[in-house]
């Protein structure tokens, strides 16, 4: 059972090229839960995540890790607690899975103490947890999209973080692999108690996997809470400018957004013959 760490944004403002994208935002990540951030394009969800991960310097407000401002802490110390999987990670050419996952141990190593048996153990556990043991000797660039994403998650795991932040981990993956990755994250959360926070663009997947849903628009949080409390037709119309009906997912019972759109009102085209 990992120790519970608390990561929260207080009055956070983030900017890109002088343009403020997120303004005065407060968000606490509930420890040990899966938080999903959703919102339309350009609402600032990725920016927020990167601000939480210390990849972006706040122009206002602060991010606190266990009550201490993030930017006052040493990078290495932060990395031992918070792991991030960025949106399009690049793997060096020819690197093997074992090597890539091994790099996750970096924050725990130093100039002089480069590698020992304990590191091996953590890496092995990470490989097992992500089901990538058989891939250990293979080159990362030969893997499929889903496999590669699992390997990156293994690397983040090897960091042994208590909080794992993921920026759109399912983009560019087909449906099967999307579920594969999300199930893995759910398992990690359940078995190790890792706090997970991720940005997803698919509302329905978000509703399925989130314990805590954060809906954003124009750099602000418009709704916050359990998916079944938060996802309503009005909210979807308001945040996404989308007319939809919200029904119960026949498999999991979580809220499912069914868009209405224009073609629904058109009679189906009858083809001759």
């Amino acid at each position: 059972m990992t120790a519970e760490h608390d990561l929260r944004a207080v009055g956070l403002s983030l900017a890109y090229d002088g343009r403020e994208v997120v303004t005065g935002l407060d968000l606490a990540l509930p420890p040990g839960a899966v938080t999903v951030i959703v919102g339309p394009n350009g609402c600032g969800k990725s920016t927020l995540l990167r601000g939480l991960a210390r990849l972006l310097r706040p122009v206002g407000g602060t991010v606190l890790l266990d009550g201490t401002p993030l930017h006052t802490l040493a990078s290495r110390d932060v990395a031992r607690t918070v792991g991030i999987l960025p949106q399009s990670p690049t793997a060096p050419e020819g690197i093997t899975v074992a090597d890539l996952v091994g790099r996750g141990r970096h924050p725990h190593q130093g100039w002089f103490r480069q590698w020992d048996a304990a590191d091996d153990g953590v890496v092995a556990a990470a490989l097992e947890a992500t089901g990538t043991v058989e891939l250990a000797g293979r080159r990362v660039d030969e893997l499929s999209g889903g496999q590669r994403q699992r390997v990156w998650i293994a690397m983040a795991l090897a960091q042994d973080p208590d909080i794992l932040l993921l920026d759109e981990p399912t983009t560019f993956l087909d449906v099967t692999h999307q579920l594969e990755v999300l199930d893995l994250l759910a398992d990690l959360n359940r078995e190790r108690g890792t706090t997970v926070a991720m940005v997803l663009h698919d509302l329905n997947l978000a509703a399925r996997y989130a314990d805590h849903l954060v809906v954003m628009r124009d750099g602000e949080i418009t709704a916050l809470g359990h998916p079944s409390d938060v996802l309503t037709a009005e909210l979807v119309a308001d945040a996404f400018a989308l007319r939809a009906r919200v029904v119960a997912d026949p498999v999991t019972g979580s809220p499912m957004v069914v868009p209405i759109g224009r073609s629904a009102s058109r009679p189906p085209t009858r083809l001759p013959g």
Partner: protein
């Protein structure tokens, strides 16, 4: 998913993978060291008398008479030693540049850093009439100043590989303009000396020179080890590296500074030997495809390249002492062009 045999425990698999990699690294490095020694031997005996060399070596070891003191001990051996040191320094520098800038086609000799050394040296030779060590010092300063200028100009909330490369190319052109200017204002006889220096040549170094460079490399070695370790994380992209706790901009700056110091040092003694920095790390990586940052093997490859090129240069045109930089320049350029022509084809499909 049903399996008939229990899957191998992860630890075992890891250990197997790691051992395979280590075996390959040891094998490749041994071959490279052997290549260095073989080429060194060839350089000592080709065109000379084998007897001399054997005598000299015997003399070193305390047995035998120690003949060949001058030709081997004073002329050839220092040359070989300097060639190895210069090659190693440039190989490491090129590897660092390419890793840090994330671009396998970025290298200090292409980006005007060596050009800066040339300009300073040309100025020293043609404008101030200096020779010898003073030229080396000027070259060192020139390389460092240009590199710093490129870095500062490429800095905009941090340095990206693209900006650095393009500004480096611009810098190279300015530097060439400056060199052209100096060449037109000088005496023809001096021009020749400047040209020889600027293309890069090992020349006839004294043991003092070799010692200085060796000491410099020894001093920088621990930093190389440290940078090599940091580069393992940096190679995963800025964001992932930051996630692993690396101070990205600071590490990048320190690594580049180290690479520039190595380049400037090598250039001070041998001039800007073209393309050694560029090709060494990629060749090392091709030999050790899963090796990650390959600074150690790159150093060995660099030494092999310089020794081989020096051999070719010495025996290419019988009457003319061809500078080693001409061989590395011509062959290196051809290799780079081939790489550029073919590099796009193999793109990983997602």
């Amino acid at each position: 998913m049903t399996t008939t045999a229990p899957p191998a425990p992860a630890r075992e698999v890891l250990r197997t993978v790691r051992h395979a990699r280590r075996r390959r690294t040891v094998l490749v490095c041994t071959v490279l060291v052997a290549a260095v020694l073989a080429l060194a031997w060839l350089s000592l005996v080709w065109g000379g008398r084998t007897g001399d060399t054997l005598d000299y070596l015997a003399g070193l070891l305390g047995t035998g008479e120690g003949g060949g003191e001058f030709t081997i001990g004073r002329l050839r051996l220092p040359r070989v030693a300097l060639a190895v040191l210069v090659g190693a320094a440039l190989g490491i520098a090129g590897g660092i540049f390419q890793s840090v800038l994330g671009n396998p086609l970025a290298s200090p000799d292409i980006l005007g850093v060596s050009g800066g050394a040339s300009l300073a040296a040309a100025f020293a030779i043609l404008g101030l009439g200096l020779t010898g060590a003073a030229v080396g010092v000027a070259a060192f300063l020139g390389a460092t100043v240009v590199a710093a200028a490129i870095y500062l100009l490429a800095w905009r909330d941090g340095v990206t590989g693209f900006r650095f490369v393009l500004i480096g190319v611009a810098a190279a052109f300015v530097v060439n303009g400056g060199i052209g200017y100096l060449l037109t204002r000088a005496e023809v006889s001096d021009v020749r000396a400047a040209l020889v220096w600027m293309v890069g040549s090992i020349g006839t170094p004294r043991w003092g020179d070799v010692a200085v460079l060796a000491v410099a490399l020894l001093v920088l070695a621990p930093f190389v080890v440290g940078v090599s370790w940091q580069l393992r994380a940096l190679g995963l992209g800025d964001e992932a590296a930051a996630g692993l706790g690396v101070r990205v901009e600071r590490t990048r700056l320190l690594a580049l500074a180290l690479a520039v110091a190595l380049t400037a040092g090598a250039t001070a003694f041998a001039g800007p030997v073209a393309f050694v920095a560029f090709v060494s790390a990629p060749i090392a990586r091709r030999l050790l495809p899963t090796g990650g940052t390959v600074l150690g093997p790159a150093a060995l490859v660099g030494a092999v390249v310089v020794l081989a090129a020096e051999l070719v240069a010495t025996h290419l045109v019988p009457s003319l002492e061809v500078p080693v930089g001409i061989v590395t320049g011509a062959v290196g350029a051809a290799y780079l062009l081939w790489l550029l022509a073919t590099t796009d084809r193999r793109e990983a499909t997602s």
